[in-house]
C-alpha cells in the first residue's frame, strides 16, 4: 500500500490539500522543498524537490588539479569538512600507492573525531530549535565554539579548513594542540549530561519523538540509509569498522546500534556517538608519534590510468569517492556518493500517516545537509 503511494507521483486526487514547504523555510536546514498533500493535518504524501543549490561540483572537478579539488569538497557537506577532504586525499594516496607518515594518520583521525563532535553539537542545537526549545540553540553553539577555537588556533579557519592535502597535511600542528584537546574533553564531559537533562528526559520531546517515523532495517538497507540514521535501525554500516582507514583499527570504540528505528532512537545514537568520539580522542591524544607532516610528493600530481574508490564515515553516513583517471593531472570523472542523497528520499516513506509537525521532527532527526544532496 505504501509502495503505491510513493510511486504515484502525479498528484492525482482532486480534493487533496497540497501545501508547499520551502525552499526558504526555517526548519528545512537549507534549500529543500517539500510538496505535502494533507488530509486535515495528517500527511498523505510527501515529495521532496532538490536542486536549489546544485552547483555542478563534479563537472568543476574535471578541470581542477587534485590539490584544488580539496577546496571544493569542503563545501559539499560543510559540517564534516575535514572528513570530506580526507576521503579525496586517501583515494589519491591509494592510487599513487604511497606511504604516509604515522603522525599524519593520527592527526587526521583526531581532527575527524573533533569534527564529528562539532557536527553533532550543531545537529542537537538545530533539532531542539525545530521543536521549539530555543535553549538548545544557545547551549549547543556555546559548546561548539570551544572546538572552533581549537581549529582556528591550529589552521586559521573555523569552518572550512582544507588542511588535508594529498600526501599529508599543509603544515604541522602547534605545540599546544594536545593540551587544548584535553581541556576540551574535560569541559565537554561535564556538559554532555546537561544535554540529556534538557531534551532526552523532557516529556514534550518524548511525546514528539517516540514512535514517530519508524524505519525498518530492510528499508534502511534497500534505500541505502547509512550513518546514525541507519544505525538506529540496527543496520551495522560504520565504515570505520568495516574498512578501517587512518588509525581506526588501533582504537577501541563501540558501534552504537539501536533497534527501535524511530526519531528518539536516531537522537540517542547521536548523543552516544559524541561520547564514543571523546573516548577515541582520549586514546589518541597522548600518543601522537613524532615525524614528518607530509610524504614526499611531486609538484604536479598525476594519477595512473585506472579507477579508484574510497569510503569514509562522515558525521552523516558513508561518503564514497570514485575517481576515474586517464593519466592526466585532472581527473577524467569524479563521483561523490554522498550520504545525504540516499538519506533524503526515505522521508516520503517515513512521514506518511503522521502530522505535519512530525515532518519537521523527522527531517531534523535525519540530519540532512542540503548542499551535500545537490553537490
Amino acid at each position: 500500500m505504501q509502495e503505491e503511494i510513493v510511486k504515484n507521483v502525479i498528484l492525482g486526487e482532486e480534493d487533496d490539500y497540497v501545501i508547499n514547504m520551502g525552499p526558504q523555510h526555517p526548519s528545512t536546514h537549507g534549500v529543500l522543498r517539500f510538496e505535502v498533500s494533507l488530509q486535515g493535518e495528517t500527511i498523505k504524501k510527501v515529495i521532496p524537490y532538490c536542486g536549489y543549490i546544485h552547483r555542478g561540483i563534479e563537472k568543476m572537478c574535471e578541470r581542477d588539479t587534485y590539490p584544488q579539488i580539496i577546496h571544493l569538497t569542503d563545501r559539499m557537506d560543510y559540517l564534516s569538512a575535514h572528513i570530506n577532504n580526507e576521503a579525496v586525499c586517501l583515494c589519491v594516496e591509494k592510487a599513487l600507492e604511497i606511504e604516509i607518515p604515522e603522525r599524519v594518520s593520527y592527526i587526521r583521525t583526531i581532527l575527524d573525531e573533533l569534527n564529528r563532535i562539532a557536527s553533532h553539537q550543531l545537529w542537537w542545537c538545530a533539532m531542539g530549535m525545530d521543536m521549539g526549545a530555543l535553549t538548545t540553540f544557545f547551549y549547543g553553539l556555546r559548546d561548539r565554539e570551544k572546538i572552533l577555537d581549537i581549529f582556528e588556533e591550529s589552521f586559521g579557519s573555523r569552518l572550512l579548513h582544507s588542511f588535508n592535502t594529498p600526501g599529508g597535511l599543509m603544515h604541522d600542528v602547534h605545540p599546544g594542540f594536545q593540551k587544548r584537546i584535553k581541556e576540551f574533553i574535560s569541559y565537554f564531559r561535564r556538559k554532555l549530561p546537561e544535554y540529556d537533562q534538557l531534551l532526552t528526559d523532557n516529556v514534550i520531546f518524548k511525546e514528539r519523538s517516540v514512535g514517530i517515523g519508524v524505519l525498518s532495517r530492510e528499508d534502511a538497507i534497500q534505500y541505502g540509509v547509512t550513518g546514525p540514521s541507519g544505525r538506529a535501525s540496527s543496520f551495522s554500516c560504520d565504515v570505520r569498522k568495516i574498512e578501517p582507514y587512518g588509525v581506526y583499527d588501533r582504537v577501541n570504540f563501540n558501534e552504537i546500534l539501536r533497534t527501535e528505528g524511530d526519531t528518539m532512537a536516531r537522537y540517542k545514537v547521536r548523543i552516544s556517538e559524541m561520547e564514543e568520539s571523546m573516548k577515541i580522542l582520549e586514546q589518541l591524544v597522548d600518543n601522537i608519534p613524532a615525524g614528518d607532516f607530509t610524504a614526499k610528493m611531486k609538484a604536479v600530481i598525476r594519477l595512473p590510468a585506472g579507477e579508484f574508490f574510497q569510503r569514509v564515515e562522515t558525521a552523516r553516513g558513508e561518503l564514497g569517492v570514485y575517481i576515474v583517471s586517464d593519466g592526466n593531472k585532472t581527473p577524467y570523472r569524479i563521483k561523490f556518493r554522498s550520504p545525504n542523497f540516499s538519506n533524503l528520499f526515505i522521508i516520503s516513506k517515513l512521514a506518511i500517516g503522521f502530522k505535519i509537525a512530525d515532518l519537521v521532527a523527522i527531517s531534523g532527526s535525519l540530519d540532512l545537509v542540503i548542499p551535500d544532496i545537490d553537490r
Binding site: V9, G51, K59, G224, F235, G306, F309, S342
Partner: protein, 151 residues
C-alpha cells in the same frame, strides 16, 4: 568470500563477461542484455547476497557510456563493481535495477539528469536537479557559452 573465490563463482555463472584488473575489488563488465538478470542473481543467491547498493553512476568515454555500480553485502562483507557498456551514444538506454535495490531509483534519476541515459521500466523517469530544457551537463561535449565561464 575473498576476491579470487568470488571471481571463480562469477565465472561459473556468466558467459561473455570481461574482468578488468582492479587491485582493490572484483570488477566485472556484463553485456547490457544480461545486466538486469545478473544483478538479481547477485542479490538473491545465498552465497553472495549483495543487498546494499553503494552507488550507481555513469562515465562518458566519448564513444560509449559505461554504467558503474558499487555493491556490497552486509552479511558476507564482500564488495563487487558491476559495469555495463551502452553502445548507442546518441540515445543511450539501459535497464533499471530499481526493483532490486530501491535506492537505485534516485541514482538513476540523477544519471538521467546529468547524462541523458534513459532507463527502461523506471517508475519515475524525471529530472532531479536541473530544469527540463537544460542540456546534459556531464557529457564531454557539453558547452554552454552563456552560463559557463571556463578557465
Amino acid at each position: 568470500m575473498d576476491n579470487s573465490t568470488l571471481r571463480q563463482r562469477l565465472e561459473e555463472l556468466t558467459v561473455n563477461a570481461v574482468y578488468p584488473v582492479n587491485k582493490q575489488y572484483t570488477e566485472i563488465i556484463i553485456p547490457a542484455e544480461s545486466y538486469h538478470e545478473f544483478c538479481s542473481l547477485l542479490k538473491n543467491s545465498q552465497d553472495m547476497l549483495f543487498d546494499y547498493l553503494i552507488s550507481l553512476t555513469a562515465v562518458d568515454w566519448k564513444d560509449h557510456f559505461m554504467i558503474v555500480c558499487h555493491i556490497t553485502s552486509t552479511i558476507h562483507r564482500h564488495t563487487i563493481i558491476v559495469k555495463t557498456q551502452l553502445s548507442d551514444y546518441g540515445d543511450p538506454v539501459a535497464d533499471t535495477v530499481s526493483d532490486i535495490w530501491r535506492t537505485a531509483e534516485f541514482h538513476e534519476r540523477e544519471v538521467f539528469d546529468l547524462f541523458g541515459i534513459r532507463f527502461r521500466h523506471h517508475p519515475d523517469m524525471r529530472r532531479l536537479f536541473l530544469e527540463d530544457d537544460f542540456g546534459f551537463p556531464l557529457r564531454k561535449d557539453f558547452t554552454d557559452e552563456s552560463r559557463m565561464i571556463v578557465k
